[in-house]
């Protein structure tokens, strides 16, 4: 399954390979002796790869597991099954020094600008931490110079280098977070909803910054978000998650113009468009019901209780995640490749 999504371009270099990754959180019950009674299957088998310099979007609603996926991919949560390989370092096989190297090469930008910076540390300490931890520069002076440069690069005035986070606005704090992520010269950055907590007029500033930095430093991004409009702007390819699995993955234009999965279609039709005429013309697909809990996902296709075109088979058989068109993957019984026994038929159900 490792090359479930590898591209057959010559000299392709998958910087990140995620192979059937699972992350389950056990639920314990009991007063004296705690027994495991079940688990929250936050991530339940996802696979994809990301090429160097690419931005992969990971979208979905609450409970889909995208944030957990991002953290597990970086090794911040121990994975339950499967493997992740970043820059050749495999999470399940890494030695201690390889893990240290991974921490330098792979970084994260967080959603909450208020909780992601230590309120007792100065900006200099926060941004300089990766440099200090990995001994990237020989002394304090050179470290401060580097912090100074990073601040300029992200659009913060270096005069503020000794101030504390509470003295900055949300957008500025997010830039501090970006500078911190850049400090160790990483190759891969997981952006976990980096703009959701910001005002609209500031979101574009931060997104533009991320794009400039990507061009300048050849960064690879995993962009986790729920805002499908922004994802269309910044991502090259997009994966749609629902209840712990990927239901569809494809090139940006393919996915947005020609979505295969009914959930993707409903999701796209639900996103408000700032254009009243277009809105009125649209066909809205309104899903019924609520998003189920990841503790007990529905059997067969997880989406079937809410799916407007569910068939009998959807309630019992798990659809196979297959490549229906070049680079465009989907798990849905509407497409014969997803149903065992019908892979060879090309007709849509």
């Amino acid at each position: 399954m490792a090359d479930a999504d590898s591209r057959s371009l010559p000299g392709n270099s998958s910087l990140v390979v995620v192979d059937d990754l699972k992350k389950h959180f056990p639920i314990h019950q009991g007063l004296i002796i705690e027994r495991e009674v079940g688990s929250v299957k936050a991530v339940d088998g996802i696979s994809f790869s990301i090429q160097q310099g690419e931005t992969l979007g990971l979208v979905g609603e609450s409970g889909c597991g995208k944030t957990t996926a991002g953290r597990t991919i970086l090794g911040l949560y121990p994975l339950t099954a499967g493997d992740v390989t970043i820059s050749g370092i495999s999470l399940t096989n890494a030695t201690k020094s390889e893990m240290r190297l991974l921490r330098r090469k792979a970084q994260m930008i967080f959603q909450d600008p208020y909780a992601s910076l230590n309120p007792r540390w100065t900006v200099s300490a926060i941004i300089g931490e990766p440099i200090r931890v990995h001994n990237l520069l020989p002394n304090d002076k050179s470290r401060d110079e580097r912090v100074h440069d990073l601040m300029l690069r992200v659009g913060l005035s270096p005069r503020l280098i000794n101030r504390f986070p509470h003295e900055f606005s949300g957008g500025q704090r997010q830039r501090i977070g970006v500078a911190r992520a850049l400090a160790s010269n990483p190759e891969f950055i997981v952006c976990d909803e980096p703009i959701s907590a910001l005002d609209v007029s500031i979101q574009a500033q931060v997104v533009n910054l991320l794009e400039e930095l990507q061009d300048e430093f050849n960064l690879t991004y995993l962009f986790i978000a729920h805002d499908l409009s922004m994802v269309r702007h910044i991502c090259d390819r997009v994966a749609v998650m629902y209840l712990g699995i990927i239901v569809e993955l494809g090139e940006r234009e393919d996915l947005y113009e020609n979505p295969f999965h009914p959930y993707t279609q409903a999701l796209l039709s639900a996103v408000p468009i700032p254009d009243p005429k277009r809105d009125r013309e649209r066909q809205r697909i309104i899903l019924k019901g609520e998003i189920p809990s990841p503790i007990n996902p529905p059997g067969g296709c997880r989406f079937h209780p809410r799916c407007p075109v569910a068939m009998d088979i959807c309630t019992t058989v798990v659809p196979i995640y297959h490549e229906r068109a070049p680079g465009h993957w989907v798990a849905c019984h509407l497409y014969p490749g997803s149903t065992p026994g019908r892979e060879n038929s090309s007709a849509v159900a």
Binding site: L74, L76, R104, N118, P119, G155, S157, S184, Q205, E212
Partner: protein, 320 residues
């Protein structure tokens, strides 16, 4: 110096957007001090505390230790006079001088016991809160065990156990009964559970913040995460608890000394002065009044100070 605009669109007017902050920089300490200043009772507490400390330590300039220990049985149990403004005790020692030197010991005991408590409480609380799991369960059971036993009882038993033949110690050119050390140790060892629980709760909560996850993503060592990231963010309740525990320690010392199991004479403390006063409650009020007054005053002012600190250090309020 202004931050360069990120968007290079043409402008009718050149806009240099100042990324500067309009309010002058206020560090967290300045904000805290401002909040503290607004607490009248806390200011009263601080001032009173300073006065008491000046009395107990500055008083050395006027009275020597020998003065406080100088017995004069002929002059015993004298009510306050000009020569002895606080009167004399059962063996003729000047009570004023004894409150000065006794105060030094009581305050010393309070502060040092607090330090012992801090060391045990913070270490155990931090380890428990950060690592969780079996270690946490184990440490918490020990903590609860110590909590369950009534502290006074524990103190009395330990004081009695340790107090057989304690040698005198010499420090700073002065002689103390070794029982001072015993008392400090005993109070510290029985008071840490309160602080441990507070520290553990703080660790559990601070640990969940994204900046800790960010530190882990950076590769920061566990030791650095505990001491440089989490601990500074838990300082507020620790400071408040430590402050209040000084008052608690002084009170505790008074209790056990009053029961005769605390600091041994001739070393004076406010507490053991009360012990001697017990038989003379009605007849010689000056024996218990003055030490009692100081104990009450210092406990009160420390409590006010603690209240003020608690409000000033409240991490949720960012307004000065």
């Amino acid at each position: 110096m202004t931050a360069p605009p990120l968007d290079q669109s043409t402008s009718a007017v050149v806009n240099l957007i100042p990324d500067e902050l309009e309010t002058p920089p206020l560090s967290l300490s300045q904000l805290t001090w401002r909040r503290f200043r607004r607490h009248k009772m806390a200011i009263f507490g601080v001032v009173t505390l300073i006065l008491i400390i000046m009395y107990a330590f500055g008083g050395m300039l006027f009275f020597s230790e020998a003065d406080s220990n100088h017995t004069d049985t002929g002059n015993a149990l004298q009510a306050p006079t000009r020569e002895h403004p606080f009167g004399t005790d059962t063996v003729g020692r000047d009570i004023l001088a004894r409150t000065i030197y006794g105060g030094q010991i009581s305050i010393l005991i309070g502060i040092t016991a607090m330090v012992v408590e801090l060391i045990f409480g913070v270490s155990i609380g931090a380890v428990s809160g950060y690592f969780g799991g079996l270690l946490d369960s184990f440490l918490m059971r020990i903590t609860e065990a110590v909590l369950v036993i009534p502290q006074i009882f524990l103190l009395l038993v330990m004081a009695r156990y340790f107090s057989q033949s304690i040698p005198n110690i010499k420090l700073f050119g002065r002689t103390f009964s070794g029982s001072v050390l015993v008392i400090i140790f005993v109070i510290g060892i029985t008071s840490w559970p309160y602080l441990a629980r507070i520290v553990r709760a703080q660790f559990l909560s601070v640990k969940e913040n994204d900046f800790i996850l960010a530190a882990r993503a950076t590769g920061t060592s566990t030791r650095d995460i505990i001491f440089r990231h989490i601990l500074p963010n838990t300082s507020a309740p620790i400071i408040v608890s430590a402050t209040l525990s000084v008052a608690a320690a002084i009170s505790l010392e008074a209790y056990i000394s009053f029961l005769g199991l605390g600091v041994r004479p001739p070393t004076a403390t406010w507490g053991n002065m009360l012990e001697l006063a017990y038989k003379y409650i009605n007849t010689a009020w000056w024996l218990w009044f003055f030490p009692g007054f100081f104990i009450a005053l210092i406990v009160l002012s420390i409590n006010f100070l603690g209240d003020g600190l608690r409000d000033a250090l409240d991490p949720h309020s960012r307004a000065a």
